[in-house]
Amino acid sequence: MTSILLDPTGELDPVKRLPRRKPASLANLTVALLDISKSRGDVFLNRLDELFKAQGIRTRRYKKPTFTRPAPVALLQAIASQCDVVVEGLAD
């Protein structure tokens, strides 16, 4: 006999979640550098910032209040409206 089970999941998962296509070039784009507030993340991002600027690429710096929680919505919206790509800096 066929038995019926109830779905224990959120039933919201898309079949596949694709990341956005990566840009071919960073020319004329703005790069967000997001510090997630882990120790020494700034060391990594400062160096990246130097390298981007040396190539004439615009950057903007952002920081999460804490790495333990997701970024606040206002921060996500600011990055999305002001930048084209994001580098999120992990560290330790």
Binding site: S3, L6, P8, T9, G10, P65, T68
Partner: protein, 479 residues
């Protein structure tokens, strides 16, 4: 449940062959038919036993369930789909009055009790409710194909923590939902990382899979509510590379009602409530929230505590309970969630004075996170009965033990600055100053464990930093 049109008007008798009283009244049913009163006879088993002419097959018990029959025979009078009269069992005067036939059943005894309706036999009620009732369960139905193993299907769907699950059939989930008065559709919050709405029904489904009994459900619901409180920071706790899992400590009368363990092997296996309540919470995170290892769960090592970590406190001691410390009284049942790694044992079989035992406990606590790091994580210390007796004999209450532990736990100028608080001063190695190992509220003491063994258990947690990390959360358990 609506009443079948066939039963919406006139007299309805519900009977079964396996009932001496039903056999006794069968001639009466024919008498009512002969009087032309519009009688329908619902038969629950052998359709041939009654001599009445208008028989309705109720072997699937749909009508008996819909009419709420608990005893057979039951005689009802219906009008426009509504019940306007009911007699349970054989009661000559009452039957006569309901039929308006003064001489009905003459010669029969005045009264005979009936038998139990087949619709209320053990295990049947839930099946009928699922089949014919409005049980309010909204989850997607997944058919297990014939010849396929339902336990294997649960594995294949990715629902399992690695151990077999109890397949969440409609009947099992309905039965689980009887453990709470809260409606199946009530939303408790959004479960990270996918931020999926979590209903009581979803909790019940996962509680079934975890192996819970219905009477555990309110505790699981309380644990889910606590976990979804933003203060607990479940998203970060799930995603961290650190070891920690949610740990549930239960206080209050519910501990005894559902048979929880706070005695020997309290942090270990073997007690169904302890084991399955903690597992149910983890399955909610996995299935409703989508939090899975090597995906959103980025833990380097994990911990066995991620299968399940739940226990009750021993409240038969002289100390204030965890619940009392957190503002509840002993008549209330509640859960408190901490982030927790596996327990670290502290053995001290020699100290008979509190001060010596404080030295041992503080020395062991110093190793939490890293021996030279201060104020990174909180810790719960489960004081075993034999260690507890050392404090009790000297009249030390919980507050005094906590104060002594904090005093003994200052790190001498060697904080490596690994906390999350950027504003906290980083003390260079070799500096003269000291820093407290734990924040003032960072140590929690509870009492539990088996009678023998001069041990206590240190349970360190993840980053406990208030708004920058996780804080313990308590919730009252509501029916």
């Amino acid at each position: 449940m609506s009443i079948s049109p066939e039963l919406s008007d006139g007299l309805v008798a519900v009977v079964k062959q396996d009932c001496p009283t039903c056999l006794l009244v069968d001639p009466v049913l024919q008498e009512i038919e002969r009087a032309g009163l519009g009688l329908t006879v619902c038969v629950q088993d052998d359709l041939d036993f009654s001599k009445a002419t208008r028989i309705l097959d109720d072997r699937n018990l749909e009508h008996s369930f819909g009419l709420g029959i608990e005893t057979v025979p039951t005689l009802l009078r219906m009008a426009a789909g509504r019940e306007v009269g009911r007699v349970v069992g054989w009661d000559r005067k009452a039957w006569a009055a309901l039929c308006g036939m003064a001489t009905l059943g003459e010669g029969l005894p005045a009264y005979r009790p009936g038998c139990g309706s087949k619709s209320v036999e053990p295990g049947i009620v839930e099946q009928l409710a699922v089949r014919f009732g409005d049980v309010g369960m909204q989850a997607r139905r997944i058919a297990v194909p014939p010849l396929e193993d339902d336990i294997e299907l649960c594995f294949d769907r990715g629902w399992s923590d690695g151990l077999p699950l109890v397949p969440p059939t409609e009947v099992r989930v309905y039965r689980m939902l009887q453990g709470t008065r809260r409606p199946p559709g009530e939303i408790l919050g959004l479960v990270p990382p996918n931020l999926s709405p979590c209903t009581i029904e979803k909790v019940a489904i996962n509680a079934v899979m975890a192996g819970c009994k219905p009477e555990y459900l309110p505790v699981v619901i309380g644990a889910v509510e606590a976990a979804l409180d933003p203060v607990f920071c479940l998203h970060g706790l799930l995603a961290t590379t650190w070891f920690s899992a949610p740990m549930i400590i239960v206080n209050g009368p519910v501990r005894e009602r559902i048979g929880m363990n706070w005695r020997g092997n309290v942090l270990g296996q073997g007690n169904r409530a302890n084991a399955t309540i903690g597992r149910a919470l983890q399955l909610v995170v996995r299935n409703v929230g989508g939090g899975r290892p090597q995906e959103a769960d980025q833990s380097t090592f994990g911990t066995p505590a991620k299968y399940t970590f739940c226990f009750a406190e021993d409240e038969a001691t002289s100390w204030e309970t965890l619940a009392e410390t957190r503002g509840f009284d002993r008549a209330q049942s509640c859960v408190t969630l901490f982030s927790a790694d596996g327990p670290l044992g502290c053995a001290d079989q020699k100290s008979r004075e509190p001060a010596a035992l404080i030295y041992s406990l503080a020395g062991s606590l110093r190793a939490v996170t890293h021996v030279d790091v201060a104020n990174a994580a909180d810790a719960v210390v489960v004081i075993g009965p034999e260690h507890g007796r050392v404090f009790d004999a000297a009249g030390w209450r919980k507050e005094e033990v906590l104060q002594a532990l904090h005093s003994a736990l200052h790190i001498a100028g060697v904080d490596l600055g690994m906390g999350t608080d950027a504003a906290a001063p980083v003390v260079q190695a070799g500096a003269k100053s000291t820093r407290p190992k734990f924040r003032p509220e960072g140590l929690t003491l509870v009492r539990a464990g088996g009678e023998a063994g001069l041990f206590s258990a240190i349970i360190p947690g993840w980053l406990m930093k208030g708004s920058l990390g996780t804080d313990p959360v308590s919730k009252e358990i509501t029916p």
